[in-house]
């Protein structure tokens, strides 16, 4: 266990957010921990995004799960572990090993992942372990395996800076991978001739950098890249020597492409793009041997995700643009350790260490087990369906929140509600999934965890603990190992440290490998505990031949030599016939719903939802809609709408957005039942999966909008418990330190007493009543101190919430009348925060522009906006353009 850190302590670790895998240095300061970018880490070279910078604000122990619980009662670890082991054993004995399942996560460290996978596939003897990487990565995995013979990303981040053409498809990199995006921005600034093409139906923040934006029809990327391949062939741009020497099946692949996309016009029509735009894009591709194509969820989360990924890779193979500096297809992952999970075999259709079930005899030998699983288990969607059908008796969910993140989320919730035993390991005390758990196990959180993660460029980095384990929290590997021992597998789970597990994992990767498997880190199998502790970021593969040199950086690029990991050493091209998404709009369901991430949030907000700074960018769930579609639905900007699909409904605010293509709408994925009444976008999404990868199509769901006739809107700010109204009302919770800002709305009239009843612990109320207008304000006291502010009115009233929060927190708050006025006596800026790092607001920026700051640099100098992580720069540019194109009178007035 880590000792309590002293002031001034410093610890280098890895950021737990996205797949970029940035190095972070944590410093102990007077008022807590501060995160800074680790200058020597090759993923970020000292940069951090706003989420990473706010890591120090997410470490508090409030809302942490700190002791094991069974059926809501605290128990000790012995009792909890015995119970988990007994339930697993009982189900295995009564219903067979297929009756238990693990659902794990890219938030686990490689060591945790390895132990979970080993227990399930090696000793329980079934393969019903799948990971939430299924939801974000599995189409890329399938394409990699199919074509390269191994799930290996060919390139590295450096390639983005070396390329002449960077294609970003299905990736809003400015928000989802801000640090890689900033590296790209810097590269383009240094070398303006470099071209960036963004392929996205939405005009996202990433388009800010684009020389060309292709707003293609949703889900038609397959046509675009198949069309590109066919066009290259027609133009004689193929690298025939490379194709002949290193690929197999290319002719069939090309024939299928030529048939599907016979000419430029048909491709343009399929993609809904102007012919000229397409021609420009193709021409740029033709003239840029150094091309990197970055693809992410927009490609993967599709019912033809594997085909799309293949189509992209084919274009690179056909032109020999792979494994060379500045040339590669590049799948970028969402989670910090999605790659680590793939490496240990965390997906149900892999076995271990990049080996499939054909290698079960070998793995059984290595693990010394006679119980090894011999065939794939349930992939995520099927796994929860099996839970719903009663075929799974015990499900153990680790470090993830499937009730929010899975498609058909309401069905997942219903399935778990009926499952005889639901075990959840998590570090927080309340998630939608934890609410359904019979057994809750307190896991270590980032900051306490010790192990390794692998980022999108195959780079293994250490996550090092800098905080002691709080309460009864334990690392996941410890919990799983303890359960395994109590199930009678003590010989195979003797682990005392993550280093011990890592060495075994590394040894397995090299076991009977002989260069046939890409994933080989056996060079690390002999690390001493100290070498493991000090391990510097390293890219796999690292051959086991010869001793490991500490500080070795590993392999930057794969396939440069034209050698692939298929049995014949060639890349296997497979014919792709693109098709449109299965989901279609109809008169009844006229809008196509896309979903994705926001700049300052992460997953289901269990971590980022605790940092007030991160909620200041966007604090409420919403649906972005083109103004024309809003008009059709008879909804005003900002009004609440019911978003319905055949599967479920959400209740969120509508936001008019010119960045949306008419007919297409967008909702962020983050909100859940702990944060809002009905904003789980995945409750709307049908589980239509790619047949091959089992990855669900999250990006296209036909929906309709209906105005929610809110009769009142309310704001409540308090640290006291709040009884949320039922789902016929709208509510949303915005934590701000110990306080929470609540927003509520309803379509039925409520009384003052109803509002008071939201805060049942408060008995001393002061009240404002305008009965005729239906406007109420409340101030709740505890021991004479104001502890709750509430306002309810037919329409939103003007309040300076930031100031109110400040006052409720202050040791000497303003008097009650001033609090009820909802703002301080002097003038203040309450416009939205644009720069989260430095908390610079829109109005301040507008003023600065009017006062002569005419570019981003000047604005940065004057207001500090955009000088932190830089992820607000696209918004700042939009603001600059907007303010500067004001009417002449306006400008004259300034």
């Amino acid at each position: 266990m880590t000792a309590i850190p002293v002031l001034g302590a410093q610890r280098d670790t890895t950021c737990p957010y996205c797949g970029v895998g940035c190095g972070v240095s944590m410093h102990r300061e007077e008022d807590g921990w501060r995160a800074t970018g680790l200058a020597q880490h090759p993923a970020n070279f000292g940069r951090l995004c706003v989420k990473g910078s706010a890591l120090g604000e997410t470490l508090g122990l409030q809302e942490r799960l700190l002791s094991p619980e069974i059926d809501g009662c605290r128990v000790d670890w012995d009792r909890a572990l015995d119970t988990v082991a007994a339930r697993l054993r009982e189900a295995m004995q009564t219903h067979g090993p297929e009756s238990v399942a693990f659902y794990v996560s890219g938030q686990l460290l490689t060591e945790d992942y390895y132990v979970a996978n080993k227990l399930m596939k090696g000793f329980i003897g079934a393969a019903n372990i799948d990971t939430n990487s299924r939801l974000c990565m599995s189409s890329a995995v399938a394409a990699h395996k199919k074509i390269f013979g191994a799930d290996a990303v060919p390139g590295c981040y450096q390639d983005l800076a070396l390329a002449d053409l960077v294609i970003l498809t299905g990736s809003n990199m400015a928000w989802t991978h801000p640090v890689v995006y900033q590296r790209l921005v810097a590269a383009k600034q240094a070398r303006p001739a470099m071209k960036v093409v963004v392929i996205d139906p939405r005009e996202t923040a990433t388009c800010d950098l684009a020389d060309l934006h292709l707003p293609l029809a949703a889900g038609t990327d397959g046509f675009l890249f198949t069309g590109l391949l066919a066009w290259c062939a027609r133009q004689g741009l193929l690298d025939q020597a490379y194709i002949d020497a290193h690929t197999r099946g290319f002719a069939e692949c090309l024939a299928a492409a030529a048939q599907a996309c016979p000419d430029l016009a048909s491709t343009a029509q399929q993609c809904g793009l102007p012919l000229e735009t397409l021609r420009t894009f193709f021409a740029w591709f033709a003239e840029s041997p150094r091309t990197v194509t970055v693809f992410s969820q927009g490609i993967n989360q599709s019912d033809t995700g594997v085909d799309k990924a293949c189509a992209i890779i084919h274009c690179h193979l056909a032109t020999g643009r792979i494994g060379k500096p500045g040339a590669a297809p590049f799948s970028i992952t969402g989670q910090p350790n999605a790659m680590g999970g793939r490496e240990v075999g965390g997906l149900a259709n892999q076995l271990a260490a990049h080996m499939g079930f054909e290698a079960c005899a070998r793995v059984a030998r290595f693990w010394r087990t006679d119980r090894i699983a011999r065939s794939p288990g349930f992939k995520a969607v099927d796994l929860f369906r099996a839970v719903g059908e009663g075929r799974i008796k015990v499900v153990w969910i680790m470090a993830t929140n499937p009730v929010v993140s899975m498609p058909e989320a309401d069905l997942v919730r219903a399935a778990l509600a009926h499952c005889p035993t639901v075990i959840v390991s998590d570090c927080v005390a309340d998630t939608d999934t934890l609410r359904l758990a019979h057994i809750r196990l307190p896991a270590a959180a980032w900051g306490e965890k010790d192990g390794t993660v692998t980022n999108s460029e195959r780079r293994i980095s250490r996550q090092r603990p800098f905080l002691p384990l709080p309460g009864e929290a334990r690392p996941d590997w410890w919990i799983i190992s303890e359960v395994a021992r109590r199930m009678g597998f003590e010989a195979a789970f003797p682990y005392q440290s993550p280093a011990q597990i890592f060495r075994e994992h590394a040894a397995l990767s090299g076991y009977e490998n002989d260069g046939r498997r890409a994933f080989d880190i056996s060079a690390l199998a002999q690390l001493t505990d100290q070498q493991y502790e000090q391990l510097l970021p390293v890219q796999w593969p690292l051959s086991g031949k010869g001793p490991f040199r500490p500080g070795a950086s590993g392999t930057e690029r794969l396939f440069a030599d034209g050698h692939f990991f298929s049995p014949d050493g060639r890349a296997h091209c497979t014919p792709v016939t693109p098709r449109r998404p299965m989901a279609r709009t109809t008169a009844e369901w006229p809008l196509l719903l896309n979903s994705g991430r926001l700049r300052d949030q992460w997953h289901t907000m269990t971590r980022t939802g605790r940092a007030a700074r991160l909620l200041s960018h966007v604090s409420e769930p919403y649906i972005a809609v083109h103004p024309a579609d809003l008009a059709t639905a008879g909804v005003d900007d900002g009004e609440l709408v019911q978003v319905e699909s055949p599967l479920g409904q959400c209740l969120v605010a509508a936001r008019a957005s010119n960045e949306q293509t008419p007919g297409e709408v967008f909702m962020p994925i983050h909100w859940n039942d702990c944060f809002a009444s009905a904003a789980r976008v995945d409750a709307l999404v049908a589980a239509i999966c790619d047949e091959e990868s089992g990855q669900p199509a999250f990006k296209q769901t036909p929906v309709r909008l209906q105005r929610y006739a809110a009769r009142w809107q309310a704001r409540v700010i308090t640290a006291e418990p709040v009884q949320t109204p039922d789902s016929q009302y709208y509510w949303c919770r915005v934590p701000d330190g110990a306080l929470v800002r609540w927003r509520m709305a309803g379509s039925r009239a409520v009384t003052l007493d109803w509002l008071k009843a939201r805060c049942p612990t408060i008995t001393d109320w002061a009240e404002m009543v305008d009965a005729a207008r239906g406007h109420f304000r409340l101030l709740g006291y505890r021991h004479g101190r104001p502890v709750c502010f509430a306002a309810l009115a037919p329409s939103l009233v003007t309040l300076d919430e930031d100031w109110l929060v400040q006052q409720l927190r202050a040791s000497a708050p303003a008097d009650a009348l001033q609090l009820m006025a909802g703002q301080p006596g002097g003038a203040r800026d309450t416009s939205p925060v644009v720069c989260s790092c430095h908390q610079v607001r829109e109005a301040a920026l507008e003023d600065a522009v009017r006062n002569g700051c005419h570019d981003v640099a000047a604005l940065g100098q004057c207001t500090r906006a955009g000088t932190g992580c830089g992820s607000c720069l696209p918004e700042i540019k939009t603001l600059l353009a907007r303010v500067r194109t004001g009417t002449p009178e306006e400008i004259a007035q300034c």
């Binding site: 009240e767 404002m768 009543v769 305008d770 009965a771 009348l817 009820m820 703002q823």
Partner: protein
């Protein structure tokens, strides 16, 4: 002194009279030769502050506004302690009690008002007094030193102030009020109850809906109890009547000036005799008589302008706000406390209360209790269309100016 100047005589030296002099001197310092008759010996003082004097929070000297030097320095002839007892309008001269006879070119009546008294059995007993002027105040202070139980009749401003002040002097006080709550013309029931609770908390007994039937006196004709119409009997060796005022029209009536409730004036404060003006509590203007200081000051301003022959002003009644002069009790009332809708803020633990009444979109009445810091803001908005700021109206005084 230039005897060629026209002679102005002012009858009365209360707050309306002294304000008139100030206004007039500001406009036309040398126009008139001025004589002021005062019934009281004391020079000009602020009557509004008699309650704090009674309560011992202020001394007499601190409420003096115009001492003898003030008149002397301005060449005004002050005749103190010698009231005018007759006006000869034909000869345009006044005669004082001492027989002083002074001619006038212009005469201003500022005779003020008389406190109302109950006309019931025992009303003449010793120890039953009013609370009107410095003399009353001195008498009450003296009586308080030996009084064991006092009754104050009238739960209006003056009665409340008197009761609280006597209580401060250590007298056991009961306040009787005929209304259902205190200050029922200025406050709504809730604010009235808050005030009631505050007085009770301080130790003043308050009896609502109590009508006096008679007074009992002892063999020395000293009052010893108050009998109520409901049969209750309250011991009292000191009774203060604070049940309102009547304009003092005695002199005007005797001179044949047209009077009803008060001396009738037009919008220039001129009476039926063009040489005679009237200001203050003795006036009746457009069916209205006066008891608050703000309209008196406005009358003084208008009247002075006419006397200075800069007669462009017209007196026009404006609702004025009222405050209670009881230390530690902040209370404010303005406008009409009724309307077709209302808004309130009730903070029981802080004992702060606000209520606003609207008629349509216009602000019609305001009551502030416990915290009157917004009084000026609300008073300024009386009668205005407030529909645009209704949501923040109750706390409008606390908003930044541009937002309000």
């Amino acid at each position: 002194m230039n005897t060629q100047r026209p002679h102005l005589v002012v009858v009365g030296n209360g707050m309306a009279a002294t304000r008139l002099l100030e206004e007039l001197l500001a406009l036309a310092p040398t126009r008139y030769q001025i004589t002021v008759f005062s019934a009281e010996q004391a020079p000009g003082y602020n009557r509004v502050l008699l309650s704090p004097v009674l309560g011992g929070e202020k001394d007499e000297s601190s409420i003096v506004t115009h001492d003898e030097a003030w008149y002397r320095d301005r060449g005004i002839h002050l005749v103190a302690g010698d009231p005018v007892c007759a006006i000869d309008r034909r000869r345009r001269q006044v005669t004082s009690r001492s027989g002083l006879c002074v001619p006038y070119h212009r005469l201003v009546l500022a005779t003020g008002s008389l406190p109302r008294r109950l006309q019931c059995a025992g009303a003449d007993a010793q120890g039953i007094t009013t609370f009107r002027d410095l003399r009353d105040t001195r008498a009450l202070i003296q009586a308080s030193t030996r009084s064991r139980a006092a009754v104050v009749i009238g739960g209006g401003f003056l009665g409340i102030e008197a009761a609280e002040a006597l209580h401060r002097r250590g007298v056991a006080v009961t306040l009787l009020h005929t209304g259902a709550w205190l200050l029922n013309r200025q406050l709504d029931r809730e604010a009235g109850n808050l005030l009631h609770d505050e007085l009770q908390r301080r130790g003043v007994q308050v009896c609502l809906q109590s009508r006096t039937a008679s007074f009992e006196e002892d063999h020395r004709r000293q009052v010893r109890a108050v009998r109520l119409q409901d049969g209750h009997r309250l011991k009292a060796d000191l009774v203060v009547q604070a049940i309102g005022i009547t304009p003092d029209t005695r002199l005007a009536r005797a001179a044949g000036l047209h009077c009803e409730q008060g001396v009738l004036t037009d919008d220039t404060l001129q009476t039926y005799d063009p040489a005679i003006y009237a200001v203050g509590e003795c006036v009746q203007h457009r069916q209205r008589t006066f008891g608050l200081v703000a309209p008196l000051y406005e009358q003084a301003r208008v009247c002075a302008a006419h006397l200075a022959e800069q007669g462009h002003r017209r007196y026009c009644y404006r609702d004025s706000a009222t405050r209670l002069k009881v230390s530690g009790v902040a209370m404010f009332s303005a406008g009409d406390i009724q309307g077709d809708s209302d808004l309130y803020w009730r903070d029981a633990s802080a004992r702060v209360y606000r209520r606003l009444w609207l008629q349509g979109d216009r602000l019609r009445g305001v009551v502030l209790y416990g915290d009157t810091s917004g009084a000026a803001w609300f008073e300024q908005r009386l009668g205005e269309d407030v529909s645009g700021c209704r949501d923040s109206l109750l706390f409008g005084d606390r908003l930044p100016e541009q937002a309000a």
